[in-house]
Amino acid sequence: MQLDIAFIIEKLLLISVILLGSLGIAMYATWAERKVAAVMQDRRGPNRAGFMGLFQPLADGLKLFFKEEIIPDRSTRFLFILGPALAMLTAVMTSAVVPWGPDIVTENGVITLQVADINIGILFIFGVVSLGVYGVMLGGWASNNKFSLLSSIRAASQAISYELAMGLSLVAMLMMTGSLSLREIVEQQHGFWDAGYFTWNFFKQPLGFFIFLVCAFAELNRAPFDLPECESELNMGYHQEYSSMKLGFYLFAEYINLFISSTVIATLFFGGYNFPFMDQVAASVSPVLFAIICVLTLLTKAICIILFFMFIRWTLPRFRYDQLMRLGWKSLIPLALVNMVITGAVILWVIK
């Protein structure tokens, strides 16, 4: 097996750009969240640090870094540190399989704007998502605090329950695409309109999209499903004993997850980097410029979905725990199964 140095450098560059980009976007997602909340509640929101409070995320980060690190005496030290590390690790891992743009064909070869085009891309995302709960569980347990423990148990049961419906809703979509590779799924959604129908999966699988979206809310632990950090019942939730940057990593991982899952939703259901009339644009501009436009398209879609997540958070109240479980097991899973059967019937008799 021969190692290709140029290949490794190209991939390392791509990975660093994606990592830094997602960190930056996650950082400003915290700012956007507070601004959105402020606008919806008739307040001004952060406006002291810099123009419109744009330096607020930096100030928050500095504050967290300089705070005192406290590791509780009765905690399990190793796992206490491992918790936030795992949360951060699983948050950024998903970005590896997202296709950020089309291939750039130059004289020297083809540059792929995707870290790894594995033929089981969606399953990889599921694998990482299912591991994401370990960060919360281990952190909560290692804190040796009853509230943290309760919170992490809630988080685990919530994640497991909603993963099922999420998987089932995607099965229907995969029956239509016939591929698990994210790149192929995006390429099937080329343009916007083809052969008398929309190409984007959102129009082919509206119910599947709806179920997936609800499950994404639950998997992200965002309101109305943010029961693991329900202040009124659990003080602060699983990160009660955490201070300084370890707390920062937990909070930050949530925003990275938010960005990455918005990108995945955009990729799966809203055509990824595809946009209407892309063939005409591709014919008239250089390949590099076209790739940049495509990446910007994907980012725009992702940011719209992030904003949608935020609007929901500041609109709906939190579910009660039994309501959450009932919704997951008794509504979403049967709905996803029905969606699967309907999709199968349509593929069998209508589309052929």
Binding site: N119, S152, E163
Partner: protein, 169 residues
């Protein structure tokens, strides 16, 4: 030694040492974590064998779901090293004897067996398309029967988990 061998030996050592960690660590939570690491090492082996689907399913099902439930139960019962019951000396001796007997049987079975070497031809059967086609054509009957088995297990779990109706006198 190429990259392949290095990765292979690294994964092998990792799998074996983590498996030892599962049975040797006193804290049940550490055992579960070692078991998760073992699953990752095994998944790495699957990827080396070009069986990507098996590798990722191993992670989703075992590391992602079953081990979460294990951890869940252990956390709920709050098992710690200090709550571990002191085992009776008799039980310890019985365990050592039975374990040693099992080792003897395995050694005796392995001693006479011959090592068959497989040729290192690259195979694509582990890729999801080929695997799906094989499962739904050549092996469709065993596949469906095993799914019926799962269904019956699920129904059994529901029946056991159902609350009994209160007796009205």
């Amino acid at each position: 030694m190429g990259v392949y061998e290095i990765i292979f030996w690294f994964l092998t050592v990792m799998a074996l040492s983590c498996a030892l960690g599962v049975i040797l660590s006193r804290n049940p939570v550490n055992s579960v974590l070692f078991l998760i690491a073992t699953f990752f090492a095994i998944s790495g082996h699957y990827i080396l064998l070009n069986a990507q689907f098996l590798a990722i399913v191993n992670i989703i099902v075992y590391a992602g779901a079953i081990m979460v439930l294990f951890l869940f139960v252990i956390m709920l019962m709050n098992l710690n090293a200090d709550t571990e019951p002191q085992k009776n000396r008799l039980v310890q001796i019985a365990g050592a004897v039975s374990g040693g007997t099992l080792l003897l049987v395995i050694l005796a079975a392995l001693r006479t067996s011959t090592i068959t070497t497989l040729d290192q031809a690259s195979t694509d059967i582990g890729l999801i398309k080929n695997l799906g086609k094989t499962l739904f054509t050549q092996f469709v009957l065993p596949f469906e029967i095993s799914s019926v088995l799962f269904l019956s297990a699920m129904i059994g779990a529901v029946v056991i988990g159902k609350k009994e109706k209160e007796q009205t006198a």
